[in-house]
Subunit: 525 residues, 2 copies
């Protein structure tokens, strides 16, 4: 390199740590009079939010919170939790949002593992926290949200950025479907780029009206609390979240954007009486939405974009970008395309589907499965106090997702399964997700889950567990025939069991219990 | 800090150098079949552009170009120059786009100072380049754009990112209104963030149709060639740029976005016969647009946003964000607000107006002048081989713009003048820009420039130089009275001179010549 280009060192004027704090610092001035939050009829401007966040930070600092301290929060979405997304990192402290639906024992494990120095709690969740402390055998300092306004009345401190953009910002525990939850460390650089990339990838305009549905204890609400400050968005919070209150808020506030799990989308679709007056842009993730839900959402004037990501990737890193050619397809054909996880968001450097043994990309044939591997600045720093799991996740220059996927000829990736959920029958991989999508098209089916059952000849065969809608009836033979009409015969369930499905506190189906149940059925012949 | 948070080092999977190269690498797949460029009836997709850029890079590499080498380009906007914005940096080389309107002597100075190892030239500009070589006393290796397609046919190389995101990306020379041009070093990190911030701040949707008007030798076309890859935009290039061809292209291609200097906007407004069918979003910068131009543009269905920046800040860093309250204002009142330079873009960390002696912010009174000081990741690395100028520009943690401005009560900044263009009369600062804006409202005035003339009592007084429109006539007394009706009496010109104004090769009025002329008039009494 020509030596002259290297001569100039960085200077404070041309190198500033990337941090989402900068977005609120700017919004406080640029969007000063615009609404930032509304909840319970109380609206606050970006100027007020900026002052309040700096006040809360100062109040926490006065309580001794500082650089590298973990502040845990056990609360549902609300303006207070939103503000803590800025107030805690402003101190250099680390925000640990805890899933309020977890059982007390797991909460105890998280608070202990996270080295929480303070737990901020919604008063309604104090009994749960007390149970967690009982499991823990000790109490931690607690601050009830009922005294939050006293923090917000503290004289505010000024803005300060981290000295190092790699500084820890948040600590988010995985759902722990296969063991103890792991603590995923987010850093300031990653959250800055996640917010910018979300604005670009979701085409967020100035001043979107955003309905807060995604729990902030999931990937900090997919990092949207930070993205909203970039564009001066207006965040609508509901204290009581039901399909009816969500629909009411969308209409009343003119909501333009929200993110939600497919199950929430499904409930909204079932509750809605008429299409929305103006298009509502929706990101959905967490599981591939059943095509039937996508079809219904389109009729209700929702522009749904399926996205994909993990806690370890700050939320969504791929997006199913709409293609004009799809407009010529049938509603069902469109929905099939929209159920794919798509292509990289702008801030995601690389998302590839690799054969792990060879390290090579799988062919773009929509058939060959590989593992999704990710590289980019919105990948976690690592797992907290867990170097073994960190090393296992980071290998050969990639973060390995553990998700099995195919790549279609147009480059769109599609999740087939968590690797451990793949059913291997006669040497063929069967995606439980694909079988479930076929099942969800059946009008009598409320919930479906497919796992492997031992099979004498094929090794494994698909076994479906099904919850029917109220008042509906069908039979095993009819379900099997229904699937064989829609997917390859070898993929159709060979066993169908009706009854309620076991679910976690967060509503995820506990497939490991179903796998046990399928094994208990014995080998099929 | 809690030691555990520091334990995890960066990993190749979670720390990738920020570089605009990543945008094309992604666009090549994500927007594969979407149009990227159109010129002379030839359209190319993002997939083709990706391949071509990698091919051109490989061809240049075969010619020995590599890390830290300066590649100068003397060419007007076109798809080739656009592609070189990716091909040259892919080699780790540095792109030096040279203003094609400069005189040969200055081009010789730039090529020499930049240590150019290759000059890529449009064949039509070969005579100019030969003159430059004559001034230089030596010839440099030359590659004519007429052989560009041979480069694009080379077997392409693969993508590679810089090892260090601070690596030099481009070298852009200032216009040199006050001495020799200075070489401004852009780095990969800055251009990445400039592109992301432009998408967020200008609310660029997916697939804008962008008309290339801003010369790419000005701040790399305000970094738009990199921003377009983020959103899969379609760039329209014209070989012949006139108001008529621009208007034709806007209608024919359905242009949704462009950037242009106020003088170009003015010419379009004068040429346009009817409003555009759909809104066209326009960024304008380089000089405050006269309110009369903003009024006309609005009637033509152009949504004009005034932005502000310098070569040293990669182009625009502040934006005059539209406020809903302005809709209630008269067209003139709206235009007055739109002529302000506004508030920080999302990627600009801080733009402040400071009293340089005290380092304090000026009051937000719309009256008190200070100097615009900037801090952020889109500030140049420094001036090439000019540590003295670099140190002078970077002081006390700021980049000092040399621009005098005020801050309005709503926080919007407004440029009053280049510091050296301020007229100090009776101890009061008079902004030459403010006086010029008043003059531009006069129907007979085509061009106006105001400078200081020595004054016996007040020290200095405003002296106006005016070009009249064809066939129009007025008088010094009428002009002075016209201004006194619109601005404070002490700000109105005390001298008015009619005649053609001296301009640089790039069309900028040469105020230093007018200052000489005003001084030559002698002291006013």
């Amino acid at each position: 390199m020509h030596a002259h280009f290297d001569a100039a060192p960085w200077h404070p004027a041309n190198h500033v740590a990337l941090s989402p704090l900068s977005f609120l610092k700017r919004a406080e001035t640029v969007y000063a009079q615009r609404p930032a939050t509304t909840c319970d009829g109380i609206s606050r401007s970006w100027s007020e939010i900026g002052t309040r966040c700096r006040a809360v930070a100062a109040a926490l600092s006065a309580r001794g919170i500082g650089l590298g301290d973990t502040v845990s929060v056990l609360a549902p979405n609300g303006p207070e939790l939103f503000e803590l997304h800025y107030a805690v990192p402003l101190l250099g402290a680390v925000l640990n949002t805890v899933n309020t639906r977890l059982e007390a024992e797991t909460i105890a494990y998280i608070l202990d593992h996270a080295d929480a120095v303070l737990v901020i709690v919604d008063p309604a969740l104090l009994p749960l926290l007390d149970q967690a402390f009982a499991h823990l055998g000790r109490r931690l300092p607690v601050l009830g949200l009922d005294s939050y306004e006293a923090l917000a009345a503290h004289p505010p401190m000024g803005w300060a950025l981290p000295a190092d953009e790699g500084q820890a910002l948040a600590l988010n525990y995985t759902s722990g479907t296969s063991g103890r939850p792991k603590g995923v460390i987010y850093h300031h650089r990653g959250a800055y780029l996640m917010a910018m990339g979300t604005v670009a990838g979701w085409s967020l305009p100035q001043h979107p009206t955003y309905l807060s549905v995604v729990p902030m204890f999931h990937c900090n609400g997919w990092n949207h609390p930070w993205a909203m400050a970039v564009v001066g968005g207006h965040m609508i919070f509901l204290r009581e979240v039901t399909p009816a209150t969500l629909l009411g808020a969308i209409a009343r506030h003119g909501v333009s954007h929200f993110g939600a799990a497919p199950i929430v989308l499904q409930m909204l679709c079932e509750e809605a009486a008429a299409p929305f007056a103006t298009p509502v842009k929706v990101l959905t993730a967490g599981a591939p939405p059943p095509p039937s839900v996508l079809e219904k959402a389109a009729r209700l004037n929702m522009e749904v974009m399926q996205v994909y990501g993990l806690t370890e990737t700050y939320g969504h890193i791929s997006q199913c970008l709409w293609q004009e050619a799809w407009e010529a397809l049938s509603p069902e054909g469109r929905a099939d395309h929209q159920a794919r996880q798509g292509l990289a968001f702008p801030m995601a450097e690389e998302i590839r589907v690799l054969d792990r043994s060879s390290g090579q990309d799988v062919p773009q044939d929509g058939l060959t499965q590989g593992e999704i591997a990710v590289r980019g600045n919105t990948v976690m720093k690592g797992y907290y106090k867990d170097p073994a799991s960190t090393s296992e996740a980071f290998q050969d220059g990639w973060f390995w997702s553990g998700d099995a996927a195919v790549v279609h000829p147009d480059g769109y990736i599609q999740i087939r399964d968590r690797l451990k959920d793949v059913i291997i029958s006669g040497g063929e991989n069967i995606s439980s997700v694909e079988v479930e999508a076929a099942l969800y098209r059946h009008p009598a089916i409320q919930t479906a889950a497919v796992v492997a059952r031992p099979h004498a000849r094929w090794g494994e065969s698909p076994c479906a567990f099904i919850e029917l809608r109220d008042g509906m009836a069908t039979s095993e033979a009819e379900i099997i025939a229904f699937c064989r009409d829609r997917i390859a015969h070898f993929k159709a369930p060979k066993t169908v069991i009706f009854g309620p499905l076991p679910k976690t506190a967060t509503g995820k189906i506990q497939k490991y219990l179903l796998r046990q149940a399928a094994r208990a059925l014995g080998e099929q012949t």
